[in-house]
Structures are given as C-alpha cells and as structure tokens.
Symmetry: D3
Subunit: 321 residues, 6 copies
C-alpha cells in the first residue's frame, strides 16, 4: 500500500489521516514553481464576471478542503494519476477582485509560466470567465479543440455593457482565435434562456451543441463518442462548469437549471475521453456560500480527479510517442 516515487505525492491517507494537515488540492504538495511538474493544479479565485449569484471566488478554497476526502486510486480503472506523473498545487493565480482586464492579464501570465515549464494546467475557478485566460495560453500557438460541459452556451455577447463576463468566455475565445469552433462541442445545454436562441453564435460558427434532449436520447457513452468525433486529433481543452450537473448534484452554483445529467453520467463521459490529447482543463462555478451541503464541492473534486486521470493518460501517451 506504500507508494515509493520520486515525484511529489499526496499525503498517504494510511499515515496522515485525511482530516490532517493543510488542505491543498488532492492533498498534493504546494509548489511555487511548475518546474518538474507534469500537471499543475491552480486556483483562480475570481467571480467579478458573474451577473447574478456570486461566490465562486471562494471556490478554490472550499474545493481544496473537500478534496481531503479523495484517495489515490480510481476504482473504475485501477490506476492512479500520481503513480507516474508529478502533480502539485501551484496555489492561486493573482487576481484583482475589482478589475476584469487586469485579472485576465495576470491570470494569463500565471498560466503562461506553467505552460512554459511544460506542465499541463488544471485550473479551478472562479466563474467561467476564468476559462478565457487559460485558453489564451494553451491556444496561443494553435487554436485548441474544446469539450465543454455546461448548462449554458457561454457565447453571449455583452451583458450590462460588459464584454467579459461569465456568459461570454467561449465567444471571446473564438473571436480571439484561441479556440477552434469547428473542434468545439458543448454538452448539456438546457433551462430557461435569455433569448429565443442563446446558441445562435454557436451555430453561426460551426460549434457543436449537444442539448440535454440530445444527451438523454443518446446516453453518456454515445455523447462522449460524438465529442471525440468533433475534437478529432490534436490538442483539446476540457472545461467543466458544475452547473451542467443536475442541481441535486451541484446546488451550490449560481445558475441552477433542473433536469441535468447525474454525476455518474459525467464520470462515464469523462472516462470515455481517455486517449485524447488533453492540453489543459478547468472546473469552475462552485460557489461555497451557496453550497451549504458541500455536495457541489464534493462533485467538483471528483471531476478534478477524473480529469487528472485522463490528463495523466495523455502525458503517458505523449511520452511513449
């Protein structure tokens, strides 16, 4: 049961109980540099792009705490991302709670350093606008493909006069050329919407939309297959807005849209993405003040764990390539 490894390792839960020691993501070591790290988890505690219910600025802190509950092996696949990858918590990206543009810039710089060190970024929000600066980093040289789990399209234009908000990151990323719309798929869209067609931009730019109706008709495995077709070969980014989950799984988020997929559905979809060339990922929109049960953070942690597993798999594939 011991894990001998030269890479940084999470606390061993059979020696240091899970309730002990300072809470870092997955109880991994806290590092100030991504040098020598394969996957760099980092928080982006920022929610000033949220038009209604805020609080996701506290997301990284609560997710770190809740991740104490996790152990190191994935029962479904019997592997551990920590076995042959160096995984660390890089702390939080610098942000300014009052300044959107300054924050977009500082977060982008922070993740650029991670990418320079050849580590894959796994960002933890924060609201969904935080995806934009990460995409700017991973898509700088070549627009990336995207698998986007969300109840909303996030391709709105301005809202209350603001171009950069939690409902617009994908539109901005397409406009900026860091996201390839032909290789982008959004899964789980539903609910009430602002306009008669909140996905007009998506269709106009050839982004694929899997509505919740499509999802329940096809099932999670087929939807994952469809996503793989859309992104094809080449670098892919995965962004997971916890509001894609049915509200009973993620009550602690700003935009609650009943009738979504279960956590099981999402686990099945994420595991079916194994083998893709994943270059980064994020989980966002956990709002601790709204998450009195803690279930939202719990599920976010487990999504992060699944992302670590497929990112580690991508790294292994790259090494052996």
């Amino acid at each position: 049961m011991k894990h001998k490894s030269d890479t940084p390792q999470p606390f061993d839960a059979t020696i240091v109980p899970r309730f002990a020691q300072v809470g870092t993501f997955m109880r991994c070591p806290l590092r100030t540099s991504a040098a020598g790290i394969d996957i760099a988890m980092a928080g982006v505690p920022w929610d000033a792009g949220t038009p209604n219910r805020t609080g996701s600025r506290h997301g990284p802190a609560q997710i770190r705490e809740m991740s104490r509950l996790l152990r190191r092996y994935n029962f479904a696949t019997r592997v551990s991302p920590f076995d042959d990858c160096a995984i660390a918590d890089l702390g939080d990206a610098p942000i300014n709670p009052f300044d959107v543009l300054a924050t977009l810039a500082s977060v982008q710089r922070f993740f650029a350093e991670i990418c320079s060190a050849s580590a894959l970024p796994l960002a933890v929000g924060g609201d969904h606008l935080i995806t934009l600066p990460v995409l700017r980093t991973v898509g700088r040289q070549r627009p990336v493909g995207l698998i986007h789990f969300d109840a909303h399209a996030d391709t709105m234009d301005t809202l209350f006069g603001q171009r950069y908000h939690s409902g617009s990151p994908l539109r901005r990323a397409v406009e900026e050329g860091v996201l390839d719309p032909a290789r982008a798929v959004s899964i789980g869209l539903r609910g009430t919407q602002f306009s008669a067609d909140d996905t007009a931009f998506n269709r106009a730019h050839g982004m694929t939309v899997v509505t919740i109706e499509d999802f329940f008709e096809a099932g999670p495995k087929a939807v994952a297959g469809r996503a793989r077709e859309v992104v094809g070969e080449g670098p892919v980014y995965v962004t997971f807005d916890v509001d894609v989950l049915d509200p009973v799984y993620a009550p602690g988020t700003g935009g609650l849209e009943p009738g979504g997929p279960s956590m099981r559905d999402c686990q099945v979809m994420l595991r079916a993405l194994d083998g893709l060339d994943i270059v980064g990922a994020d989980v966002n929109e956990v709002s601790p003040p709204l998450d009195t049960s803690g279930l939202t953070a719990l599920h976010a942690c487990n999504i992060i764990f699944e992302l670590l597993c497929i990112m580690a798999s991508a790294l292994r594939a790259r090494r052996s390539a």
Copy 2:
C-alpha cells in the same frame, strides 16, 4: 434580445438583474384584477389541512423569491409563454389560518373572479387541500379531467375527524361533482401508506392510478401518453404535488416518499401534455421551513414555468380555433 409587447412582461433580466426589485411570480407584474390577463398566477398561503409537517403556508412567498432565477425562454421548445400571453401575479387569495370552511369559500370566490375575467388560474400552494376550491371553480359548469402528480392518492376520507384536509381533496372533488373520475389520472403513487389500500376510492370510482412501479416500467413519455388517453378531449386541470418528485429534488415538503421520478422525468411528462385543453393548474406542498437547500422551491418554479408553457399553448390553440 428585447421583447416589445403590449402585454405585461416580466422584468428583462438583461436590464434589471434577477436579484433586483420586489419578488413576484416569474418577475411578472403584480395586478389586483385579472381583467385583460390570460394566465393569472396566485398564491394560496394556507396549510391548516396538513396532518403532520406543516409550513406550506409560506410556500407562495418562497416560490416568488426563487422564481427570480428563471429567464423567459424554454430552451427545449424555444418558445416563451410571455410572448403572446398576458401573464400576471394576482397576489394571494384571502385565507383564514384558523378556519378551513371559511378559507375554502374565500379561495373559491377569489378564483371565481379570475375565471369570470376569462383568465386561466395557476394556483401556488399551500397544502394540497387548496386544489379543492380551484376545482370547484373550474369544474363548476362541467366536471373537469385531471392529471395529478403526487406520491399519494389524496382520496382519503376523514382524518382526525376532519373531512377537509390535505389528503382528501380529490375525494371531495369527485363527491361534489366538479371532478370527472373517469377522466382523472394520478401519477407517481408510492411509499408507505396508512391502510392496506389507500387507492380503494380511486378504483371504486374509475380513477386511473399510475403507480411508481408502472411509471418506472413504462417511462415518462409513455406515462404522459397514458394520461392523455385518460383525459381525452375536453377541459383538463393539472395538479402537481411536489412530493411526487424523489425527495432529493423536493426535500422541503411534508410527506417524503423515497424512490420517485426525477425532475427530468417530470419535465418530459409535462412537455408531453402540450396540446391538451388545460383550464387551470396548481403546484403545491412546498414547505419553506423544511426546504433549507431551496431545491424544492427551485423545482416548483421550473414546474410552474413548464405549466405556463403548456397553458399558453392551450390558449393559442383556443384562439386559433
């Protein structure tokens, strides 16, 4: 994204943020008369018919607040009930927290005025007894058909010596001739029951029962089809007791019966009722003091939205007929 209309409209969420202004149902205008209104939402804040866990007297207040989260378009159907129907919040029906008979009478008078103005009533409880005075109104001239979502049959006779309580509305409605038992269907019955057969009255009067076993065997679409067969042509009333939902979707209600349908199941069923001649509806049994997570009110709001959509559809059909 602007909605120019002569009819009363909800606050535009792109101008007035959803957290702003006084909370009315769906952020619609508050009116004191149903004149010129197509669908009149109204609260019935009353729970003195509840034998065990009360609190639904506070239901209308909390549901109004939670309905802030909704926007105006149904993603699944791309239409909005507000586009061509005049929808308003009529406030609450007058009630007496200590007097069952006086309340039944005053609530009936309140909804009779709404019906006189040719508006369709959408009542928000309160406990399930509030369905009786509304049925008395819509079924006064001709007994109506009924689609009844509930974990319980609500056809008990007296309880603690009282004829009018939250477990007896449908029995009383049949006895009073305002509900046509041959055109009535109850969906989702389950749980532990008081007697060996809590549906004896239903069978004796030819009311259709779709137990939870039937439901899970047939699935939501087939069950909705069965409901359509039962009610056939003619006026139909829809009553939705939130305890039909599995308790994880509706923890804040008096009678919790595990193993029920999901919110998605109910959305599918309600949308499949489109085209029926709906003459009124209600949603009831949300008990805010028991709903610490707010999920029950959230789901009630979304059920109300689906009801508005199919009621608007019925109105459109009537106009074009």
Copy 3:
C-alpha cells in the same frame, strides 16, 4: 385595532396574515413614484464594491421577506410611524452589477427624484458604498452631519486600485463636500485592521470616533448623547452597517468583528436619537447567502423599524415647526 388612514398603510396583520401577499418592505404598498410619500424605502441591490465576501446584492430581497415578521407599533414608545406618515416601498434603484461609476450615477439620480418629491429616503443595501450616492443627494445643497454605526471606519483610500469600494464611502463623501466631517461620528469600531491606524483619515479631518472600548465604557445612552453633541443642530444622515452588531446578531455579513454591541444596545442608541433632524438613512451589508439563520435580516428589519420611528418623529417636528 383598525387603522383608518388616508395614507398608504401596511397590510393589517389581523386580516392579511404576515406570511401572505408579495413581500415589500414592512408590507407597505409598492409605489413607482415618491409623490405624496413622506418616507420612501428603496433597495440598492449592489455589492460590486466588496473586496472579500459578497452577497449583499441580495440584501433588499431578503430584508423585504423578513420584514413580514414586523407589526406596526413600537412597544417601547407606543407609537407607529405609519399613523401619520405616508410610507411606501419604492422598489429598487437601477444598478449595473459590472459598473461602479454607472451605478453610482443611476443610484444618485434615483434618490434625487425621491428627494425632489420631498420624501425622506431610507435606502437598503447592498454594500456600504451605496451610502455615497445617497449622501450626494441629501448633502448636495449643504453637507450633512452623520451618525455612522459600523465596525469599520470606511475611510480607506484605494483598495486593489479602486477608489470606490465598500471601505471608502465616507472618505469620498468628505472629499466631495457632501458630508461635514466635523459633524460626523462613527460608533463601534473594532476588530483586526489592515493598517496600524485605519482611522487616520478620520482624525485628520476631525471626524469623531467612538471605538468599541469607548462604547463599552460609556454605555449606549451616553454614546447616543455624545453622537447628538457631535451632530448638533441641522440635517443628519444615519448609516447603519449591520457589521457593527456583534456577529451573533449579524452572522450574515461580509466583515465579522467579534465583540460588538448587542441589538438591545443599538435599539437604545437609535431611540435616543429621536428629535434629530434626520434627512435620510440607510441599512446595509446584509448578505443573504451568508445569513443561513436569517438573524441578520431579522435585525436589519428591526433597525429599519427604529429608523422609521425616528424619521417619522423628525417629520412631525418639521410639520409643527
């Protein structure tokens, strides 16, 4: 027990139970204009000036709901503000959740209209920055005196590069000449602070500070007396940040500083302000997502009630003058 009056009146709790009807401030009528109104309560649902824990944008909504619990007479003084004053809920001031300057301007215009109609404004926040646009209105012609209940001085300069935030309203108001520092008193300051002297600006400008040490030494009556001395004759504004209360009374606010006054202490102080020439008031910093017990909103409502009583008294004095 009936209240015959030509002025707008709250719902009579012996006829319309307190849980019934749409929730407005103190269950008063909702008006769209201040014409004919003596005291205009209005929400300012805005918290984008908050550097740490947000959520007070939802404050007006929750406070309206919680104010259902109040009745119309003050037991301590046997009078009711509703008896000879016309009091209404004016809804919420228009705000932009993403734009500080635009919001400061639109809120100022909103309250300017109220003042033009000769109504006294009673603003309900929102974070403490909302005091600034109201002060700009009531202090436009002559800088007003101020009685300021708070755990913090709120005279910081920039924070994260921003001049307008919830820690700076009083500094800005002094700089802009709408607040007379010689007639300003801050009561209840305490806690941990950012710098070795967070009250440097106050002393430099002759603003009076009653620290929590002073408060507990002198007691609430003497402190109220000291406040009266400071403001003297002339127009006075009262601003009440709920974080002045000990956290057990106001757990639902962003900045919790243990060791504060009790609600009783604050009631005693406010009642002792009777007779001052109050030209406006606000209550702010109730953050519903942090107020799971509801106690913060409860106490805010009762503070509002005390403010209504002393504002009504000021109006009566002016009439008879």
Copy 4:
C-alpha cells in the same frame, strides 16, 4: 458518582453515554402513569393555535432529543432534582391537530390525571395555547398565581375570528377564573405589536407587566424579586415562552422580538424563584423546523432543568412542612 435511589433515575451518563438509548425528557424513565411520580414531564405536541410561523408541534420530540446533553447536577446550586424526587417522562398528551376545542379538552383531562396522582406537571409545548388547559387543571380549585416569561402579553382577544389561539391563553385563563390576575406577572414584553396597546387587558385586570425597558433598568435579580412580591404566598404556576429570550438564544420560534434577555438573565431569575410554592410549569414555542442551529431546544432544555430544580425544592418544602 453513583446515584443509588429507589426513585426512577435518568440514565447514568458515566455508564450509558448521552448519545445512547431512546430520547426521553432528561433521559428519565418513560411512564404511562403518574402514580408514585413527583414531577411529571409531558409533551403537548400541538400548534394549531399559531397565527404565523408554526412548527412547535414538533417541539416535544426535539426537546427530548436535545435534553441528552444535560447531566444531573446543577453547578450553581450543587443539587440535583433527581436525588429525592421521582421524575418521569409521561409521554405526550393526546391531541387532535385539526381541532382546538377537542384538544383543549383532551389535554386538560391528561393533566388532570397527573394532578390526581399528586404529581406536579411540567408541560412541554407546543404553542402557548397549551398553557390554558394546564392552568385549568392546576387552577381548578383556586386560581393560581403566575410568573410569565414572554415577549408578548398573550392577552389578545379573538384573532382571525378564533378565541383560542397562541396569543390569548392568559386572557382566557383570567376570564375562566383559573388564573388570579392580581397575582400574575409578565416579564420581558417588547417588540412591535398589533395595536397601540397590546397590554390593555393586563392593566385593566391588575396584571403586572415588566417590560423589557423595566427589565434592563432593574436587572434580573430585582425583577425576580418583583415577581415574588406579585405572586406572594400561595400556589404559583410558571410559564416560559422561549421567545422571551433574545433571538440569538432562541432563533427557532415563531415570534422573534430582538433585544431580549440573555439565557444567563433567565437562569438568574429562575433560580431566584426558589422557595415559591410552584404547582406546575411549562416551556413552550420551540419550533424545530425553524431551529436549524438547535440552540432554541438547547436553551429550552436548560430552562426545564432549572424549573425541575425549583419544583423539587417546592416539593421538599411541602414535605417538611
């Protein structure tokens, strides 16, 4: 540390941990008859007299559970009521959740049996109307004196047309001649009230009122002394509405009136009643659905413990007399 006694004893917390075994009041034995019992604790799970926020029907259940936390000795006085008194839990009085008059009758019969067995009743509500049937029992032969802790006078007449409700028990008891108004004192009155003078009946009938202003001026010991003067010699009943406590001590009750006494204040007052000829007592208005923190039930249990101590003292005095 062992307590050898022939009388029924609570579980010994050094042998049976406090979290173990079925929850009875103070972990005392459950009895079906008061024969041989000195003090009979019994629940009255009934709240149909409550005009606004209900839930106290669940009070006895939660108070039993919370009373697990208590041990057997009073640190302040070093004595235990269980040492020489036989104290038991008599279960709940029979009630009908829909029928006020039937419940008043059945509760009265239940307590009459207890009194017939020469046991002192300690009733646990339930709403405050439950005091009436107990007073009818203990005051049947001679009107009793009363020490009444409450934020409200509870001497209203009809409300919503109902004579028997939680705001009228003391008026009814005076009218029925079971309560001697000249020997009745109400302590802690405050808050907003329905009418300009909610204590008119009290004054008209010579009942003593200690307002919260009086209380804070005199302090708890002097107030207890005043209460002793009012009731003088002769039988006294103590009724404790938990809403007398400041809401931070009793958030889980229907009528919250800020600015009340602390728990310490109430402990001091109750202990200062030692030596009175107490013939019965009750604690009421704990509403578990509103008591999410459990503090209300916690304080109710400790009030019950103090009542047991002074009732045991009265019994000892009677025996030695």
Copy 5:
C-alpha cells in the same frame, strides 16, 4: 383502517399523529427483552472504528426520530410487516465509546440474547464495524451468507495499526469463520481507493464483487438475481452501508463516493431479495452531524422498512415450512 392484533404495534398514525410521543424505531413499542418478539430492532451507537469523519454514534437516535415519517403498509407490495410479526425496539446495545474490544464483546452478548429468544436482529449503526459482533452471533453455529451493499469492500486489514475498524469487518468475519466467503456478495463498490486493489482479499477468498460498473450495466433486478445465486439456499445476512447510495441520497455519511445507485435502485434490489432465508440485517454509517438535510436518515428508515418486509416474509415462510 384499524389494526387489531395481539402483537405489539406501532402507534396508529390516524390516532396518534406522527409527530407525537417518544421516538422509537418505526414508532414500535420499546421493550427490554426480546421474549415474544419476532424481529428485534436495536441501535448500536458506536463509531470509534471510523478513521475519518465520525458521528454515526448518533445514528440510532436520529433514525428513530426520522422513522416517525413512516406508515405501516408497503405501497409496492400492499403488505405490512407489523400485521403478523411482533416487532419491537429493544433500545441500544451497551457500548464503550473508548474501548473497541469491550464494545465488540458487549454488543455480541446483547445480540446473542436476542437470538436466544428466537428473534431476528435488525441492528442500526453506528459505523460498519458493528456488523462484526452481529455476524458473530448469527454465524456462530454456521457461517452465514451475506448480501453487502456498500461503496467500499470493507475487507482492509489493519489501519493505523488497528485490526478492528469500519473498513475491516468483513475480513475479520471471514477470518473468524462466521461469514462464508463463497456465499458473500458486495454490491456497489466504487470511488477512489487506498490501494491499487482494495478488493484483493475478496477475490482471494472467493467473495463476489459487483462493482458499480457491473451494477449500471446489469441493472438492479439482474444484480439482485446475481446476489440470490451467490447466497443460494441457507441463512443470509444483509448489511446495508448507506454510503452505497449516491451521495445525493446519503450526504450524511463519512465516506462519500459519487456515482452510486439511487434509492429506487436499492428498493428494487431489496424487494427482489424476498424469499431468502434472512437471519438478520443491519443498516449503518448514518452520521447525523453530517446529515444537515436529514435525507440520509430518511433513506435509512425506508431501507429499514424494506428489510422488515423481507424479514417478515422470511419468518412467514419459516412458520409455514
């Protein structure tokens, strides 16, 4: 609707409301001996074997309270376990919160007395280690078969140097020869695990494992069928760890593993076990301090009810055999 019976019966919910009287399991009579009892429910309030999040020592108390919600008939099967079985609450087994070995011994003795009286034990935990002393009792003469619902294998060896903990009961039971590994099946395993193979012991000893992947592929009915094959003829024990449920159904337990079966799935599986020769059962790992919504206890109560139904069925079969 009346239930005339010589056997002990739960309170009749049409006479004694469900919120009334002391809370026992299923509102059944509290007995101090199992003589004449067919099924003996008993608590084991003990959690000192829990390595991370404790609190299940309070499980029996909360489950008793929550079981008030249940009525006497199973809607799915129209039968009641109380109709021809004598079912009682035997209180709690004696435990020592600080001493594992002493507790294992005293709990074993307690259940041995129940078995000696020919009653079937239904134990309510407490953490999962409490299964061991019950298995020692029912498997003393012949190792029993086992149907084990759990997210974890519970066949770890020592943890923190301790042999007896909540992750080891089944390993110890196999080693001690009271559990027949060839007739044992574990259903629902999933999540993150301590080691690369937390089921090594299971496979080594021929215990059957139905992982969550197997479960979702086959469905609940087929899984129940598989379980019946594994246990075959002969005595069977059923142990239900509430963490087998998806966390939205059982948030109040120590080890939360997302992606589990629904309550409906578990009801279907349990009902499909009807006809087995069940000799005992337990439900465990409900931790009230972690169960702020009460859903975990609610579901535990309903699982207990299903277990009572199949145990009553086994008893009827044995009588008629």
Copy 6:
C-alpha cells in the same frame, strides 16, 4: 500600509485578497521546522478522547480556513504580533485516530521539537486532551502556571474506564508534575455536571476556581486580575476551551453550557493578561460538523489572534530583559 520585514509575514490582504491562496493559520507561511520561528502555530487534529459529541479532529482545518477573515493589526491596542515576531504555521502534529497513548507520545515529541527551537507553541485542537502533551513539553523542567478558560473543570478521573480523555487533562497534568496546581486558575465553570462536585480535585489540590457566578459578580477585568494573582511571576500556559463561551458564540462544540461569558468578556480578559510570561497556549474543542454557522471557528480565530498578541508581548519583554 506595506509591511517590510525580514520575518515571515502573512499574505498582505491589500494585495492577495483574503479568499485567495491556501488556507494556513492567519495566512502565515507554512513551515516544516520551527527554526528561526518565535511563535509556532500547529494543529492537533484529534478527538478520540471525547466521550459524547466528537468532530474536533476537523478543528484545525476549519480554523485555518476561517482565519482568512483576520487582518494584521489589533484595533484595541494598535499593534500587530507579526511586526517583530516570526510567526508560522507548522502544520499538524502527527496523530493516530485510534490510539490515545501513541498520540499523546507523538504530539509530545512534535511540540518538544518546537520548544527545542526556542519557539513558543500555540496549539489548535482537537479535543481538550491535546493540552496534556503540550503541558508535558512546556512544563517538563518546571511545572507551569495555568490560566484555564472552560465551562468544565477537566479534572475528572477515569471515564468509561479510560484515564486519558477530554475531561481529565488537568488532573493528569497535576499528577504528572507538569502543572503547578497552586498557580492554576479555571474560569467560567458552570452548567450541569456529572457529580455533586466536579471540582473536588481542584479544591483538594489548591487549584483556583472562578465559577460563572463569580465571573458575573466580579466582571472580566477583575477576574483577569484574580488570574494574574494566582499565576504570579513565572511561566504561564493559557488553555482556551471554546465551550467557555456562551453557546451563542460557540454553538459548534461538544459540550454546550448556557449562560457563559460573551466574546467581548473573553477579549477583555485575554488583553488583561498582557505582560505575563506566557510560554505556550492552545485553543481547543471547535467541532466543525457541529458548527454550521461558522461562528465557533470565527471566535476561535479571534481568540488565537489575541493569544498571539500577548505571546508576542511576552517575547518582546523577554528580549528586552
């Protein structure tokens, strides 16, 4: 407002918002060695000595998170402990959740290393037994004086056969000669107790007891003066059990005893200890699963801050001596 210092400093809240970065005690740097550190804060996440309500094993984690709210200057004294002392978070002491003796030994070794590095320990529990191994360290060479804030005497002997539990640390420390009973004072004792005299050991050994009656009679300043007299010159340890606070300030702890001091009272007492030769301190018994409001952790953080202030003062005095 910038704090240039060679010593380790907390994150500057005007640059790194308080919700950002990994949560350490007071946002101080995390160190693995006490070399060069003046005050070493460290968690002891252990509660296996708790006889009733556990959960304080999670205390250090929650207190770290809640300490984000604090800033660096004490408003009452205008000084900051961070200005001239090196203060760090040393992580958690190693513990074994199943083994009392092993944990006592490993915790003692952990703190011995801190003391060897000439740092003052500030331990954060965990239950109150954790005080024993720290006392063994600081009192090894000479028995220390003690100022003990608590509702309970903590001088019980065995409980459930166990010598080392959360009710016995002070008795053991006196017996072991590491605590000087003549220089020990316990403040705040009250509530219900196990035996007629839970302070017998204290009196027998000359330990001073300030009961809650004494406290309210003398007031916090006089009590602090009495404490200073008792401990006199020489090394003093301060142990603060949060249950000394009235339960409204510390609802999240195992043993709730109504009628205690306020947070203000405790701040006044702690500040009045300035100048004593403090050699260590601890805060204990915060149980996060019981602290749903977070108030207990909030107050614990602020107590820790006051302790840091007086420990820094002691260090300054020593340096200048």
